[in-house]
């Protein structure tokens, strides 16, 4: 660890600007957003993100020229109390710069793309005012993500970790008053909430891991301190390390959408498509992978935990892939695909194949962003087609309802709701949207792992490692790879081939340049991205680069058997998908041809194996019931009303009735006053019965007093 002062070359001092640039961008838009035009807003936001990218490049360069030495750039003190010393310190090393480059690079491209996308999206939804808000959130996300990847302690990482969770919430709920089909609904906001809360469950794991770390591993959250202390503890208190890693795994599962916490990610597709691309495919969801990679020195101490991580990843990869097969929504397919691919990465880092995991992370960022953005392009294309069609048809009607509110009008216009994301509404788009089609093809091939696209190399490396370490993981991943190719093939055939199955698809229009150009860049990267880390001696660039941080690992040579099996399976899958979907294109309103042969299995896939419903029954409903019970029965009726108002009051009532009073009379109780008062009041009402106005009784009372006093003196 070197401090900035000792370094003579490099741009390390720029590190804070990774965060500051997007923050400035978002502040500019927040303050002046109303005055600025859409172009300016987009430009400011993209510039902010671009600045972060430039800084990332400079930092990467600096790391390179300093032979990969990790450098800490202190920025400010944060929390100093007792043994706790937390600072805002940036850590620049090869691992973090890799992430920075991916985040800011892909992020900038998506910013640019979003200028075009959101321009149309806000218009279709008649919400022009929201354009600026979107970019504010995007910049906020970049800032948070930068904090996450550049932090030099677990806590700073956690700050970014929660920050991106917030952005995810805000962006998923961007269209918070509607569902994905722009109908007034709670659906989008539900999805947003679900994402945040699920993430928080993961964060809980992270927090506990952090606490354990602090109290057992050297009272620090600094990566270096923790790593330094870990080996000794692993000798003496092994359970601590295991607990830390497993609790951290819970965090990883939350953020990177692994079993059992992946459920939020498919719903997150409620956000605008650039969000899906940026947050829910390329960057945020990979934070978990980054975390495990970052914690490599801890994980390698406990192989049993590593095995669990790998198994979780592998199972997720396979499980999500099966669901993807049964989806009709173009983005849902990609969402499950993302979960599945994240499973690959988590499995990789779990096995200790950190480089492979990171490699796949990078390439996946390229091609999955590409796929999502292209999907967005498709959706907007359909939307345009739909509007062109609908505008014509409903022109007359609109005049009549001008007086009504915008949404209501919107409402009535779309009585028959058109879903531009449903693949069953598509078909034959390769003719109307050729550019998008080709870009989508590249993404698909990369994802399916076809040689020589980027995905082939990275996935292959994971499979290589899996083959070496855990056979079960290897086979699960291989099968998942097969499914991947299959559902992507299915998608291509359904979306771009065959005949258009809707009016909108017929009149779909290609997207503007501002959207397609970034896609082309991503497509290029998806093609050549594999070159980062080819499995040949001397070409392990990424491995070497990450080796600065993770320790030099010898790159694995190409194993033709593994590569062969996966390639053959992928091609086979695409072929089968052609047999089913390509040869006989889907007709309008025709159900999925797989439905009949697979039966309930397909129903399971289609309905996500009913996991959401299971959670509903097992966790959400019981929690709701419990809290209702606590609130209404325990707290209010029992504690507030019963104990305070009835028990205390009742006991005294009973006492006063039995002991003091034969003429119980409740009229005196002023119901206005609180119950505690009324019990004493009642009691006192009974006592005062003795106060009956008779002189004789009063004298008796005096006499009684005297007799008692004398009696006491006798007894004393």
């Amino acid at each position: 660890m070197h401090l900035i002062e000792t370094m003579n070359t490099g741009f390390f001092f720029l590190a804070p600007w990774l965060v500051l640039a997007p923050v400035i961008g978002l502040l500019v838009n927040a303050v002046f957003g109303r005055q600025l035009s859409e172009k300016w807003i987009g430009a400011v936001a993209s510039l902010a993100s671009g600045t972060a990218f430039v800084v990332s490049v400079l930092l990467a360069y600096s790391v390179a020229v300093n032979h990969g030495h990790a450098v800490s750039v202190p920025f400010a003190e944060w929390i100093h109390i007792g043994d706790l010393k937390l600072d805002w310190t940036f850590r620049v090393d090869s691992l973090s710069t890799t992430m920075m480059l991916v985040v800011s690079g892909v992020g900038t491209l998506i910013h640019i793309y979003a200028i075009g996308y959101m321009h149309e999206d806000v218009r279709f939804k008649h919400q022009e005012g929201r354009f600026a808000r979107f970019f504010i959130f995007l910049n906020l996300f970049i800032a948070a993500m930068m904090i996450l990847v550049s932090g030099d302690s677990y806590l700073m990482l956690f700050v970014g970790w929660e920050g991106v969770g917030l952005c995810s919430f805000l962006l998923i709920g961007f269209w918070f008053e509607m569902d994905t089909l722009a109908r007034p609904s709670w659906a989008n906001s539900d999805a947003a909430k679900k994402a945040f809360i699920t993430n928080r469950v993961g964060d809980f794991g992270f927090l506990i891991a952090g606490f354990l770390m602090f109290w057992y591993l050297g009272r620090s959250f600094q990566f270096d301190d923790v790593f330094a202390a870990a080996p000794a503890i692993a000798e003496t208190q092994r359970w601590v390390i295991i607990a830390i890693t497993l609790f951290m795994l819970l965090g990883v599962a939350g953020k990177s959408a692994q079993i059992p916490l992946y459920v939020w990610l498919p719903d997150a597709m409620a956000g605008p498509t650039p969000v899906s691309a940026l947050i829910h495919a390329a960057t945020m969801v990979t934070a978990g992978v980054y975390l495990v990679a970052r914690s490599a020195p801890i994980y390698t101490l406990v192989p049993e935990a590593q095995y669990i991580v790998a198994m979780v990843g592998a199972m997720t990869a396979l499980f999500a892939a099966t669901i993807a097969v049964g989806q009709y929504d173009i983005k849902k397919v990609l969402a499950y695909s993302t979960i599945s691919q994240l499973g690959f990465m988590v499995a990789a880092v779990g096995m200790g194949a950190f480089v492979a995991g990171m490699f796949h992370l990078v390439t996946h960022a390229f091609f999955k962003a590409l796929l999502f953005l292209s999907a967005g392009s498709v959706i907007l294309g359909l939307e345009r087609g739909h509007h062109a069609h609908a505008h014509h048809a409903h022109h007359e009607e609109r005049h009549k309802v001008r007086g009504k509110r915008k949404e209501e009008r919107e409402h009535e216009e779309h009585k028959e709701v058109f879903d531009p994301g449903d693949m069953r509404n598509m078909g034959g788009l390769r003719k109307t949207m050729p550019v998008t089609f080709w870009l989508y093809m590249i993404g698909t091939l990369a994802l399916a792992g076809i040689f020589p696209f980027a995905g082939f190399w990275s996935k292959d490396e994971i499979l290589l490692d899996a083959n070496l370490h855990y056979t079960s993981v290897y086979w699960q991943l291989t099968i998942a790879a097969f499914f991947t190719a299959f559902y992507m093939g299915r998608q291509i055939w359904m979306v771009f081939f065959g005949e258009a199955r809707s009016d909108a698809a017929k009149s779909a229009q290609e997207s503007p340049k501002v959207m397609t150009v970034p896609l082309m860049v991503l497509a290029g990267l998806s093609v050549v991205g594999g070159a980062l880390n080819l499995p040949f001696e001397g070409f392990h660039h990424l491995g070497h680069w990450l080796g600065y941080t993770l320790g030099e690992v010898e790159g694995l040579p190409l194993n033709l058997q593994v590569a062969g099996i996966s390639t053959v399976l992928a091609l086979l899958a695409i072929f089968i998908s052609w047999l089913i979907y390509g040869r006989n294109p889907l007709k309008d309103h025709q159900s999925d041809p797989l439905k009949r042969p697979l039966g309930f299995v397909f129903t399971g896939m289609e309905n996500k194996w009913f996991v959401d419903e299971g959670y509903g029954v097992l966790i959400i409903t019981p929690f709701k019931k419990l809290s209702q019970f606590l609130a209404e029965v325990i707290d209010w009726r029992f504690w507030h009303d019963f104990v305070h108002d009835t028990v205390i009051a009742g006991t005294y009532n009973w006492l006063s009735e039995v002991v003091l009073n034969r003429y119980a009379d409740q009229k005196g109780i002023d119901t206005f006053f609180n119950s505690w008062g009324s019990f004493t009041q009642w009691l006192s009402g009974n006592v005062r019965k003795i106060q009956n106005g008779f002189v004789r009784s009063y004298a008796l009372s005096v006499l009684l007093g005297v007799v008692l006093i004398l009696g006491y003196l006798i007894l004393k």
Binding site: R688, Q691, N692, G693, V695, R696, A699, L700, L703
Partner: protein, 100 residues
């Protein structure tokens, strides 16, 4: 000679009778008489003690008690008469207009 205890016991008995009268009679005049009986019992005790202790103080106290009793009677009887004028009865049980 009669032992002092006898006097004291007698005085206690008279006092108790007076107390009982105050407690259960309803005619304020009789109540008042009972109070006089109590004072009288106290006086008896005083004189008895005074005689034993060979001190005049007790007797003098008794003298003052008698004077005070006279003063009380003046006021008390006036009150009773007034009440009778207003209410046409002197039953103390009827004096409960304020029991709430």
């Amino acid at each position: 000679m009669v032992p002092i205890e006898y006097y004291i016991i007698l005085s206690v008995i008279l006092f108790s009778i007076g107390v009982a009268g105050v407690v259960f009679r309803r005619n304020p005049l009789v109540i008042f008489m009972s109070i006089e009986l109590m004072l009288n019992a106290a006086n008896l005790a005083f004189v008895a003690f005074s005689s034993v202790l060979k001190s005049f103080e007790g007797q003098i106290f008794v003298f003052f008690v008698i004077a005070v009793a006279a003063a009380e009677v003046a006021v008390g009887l006036a009150l009773i008469v007034e009440i009778f004028k207003s209410k046409r009865t002197i039953d103390v049980d009827q004096l409960n207009s304020m029991k709430e």
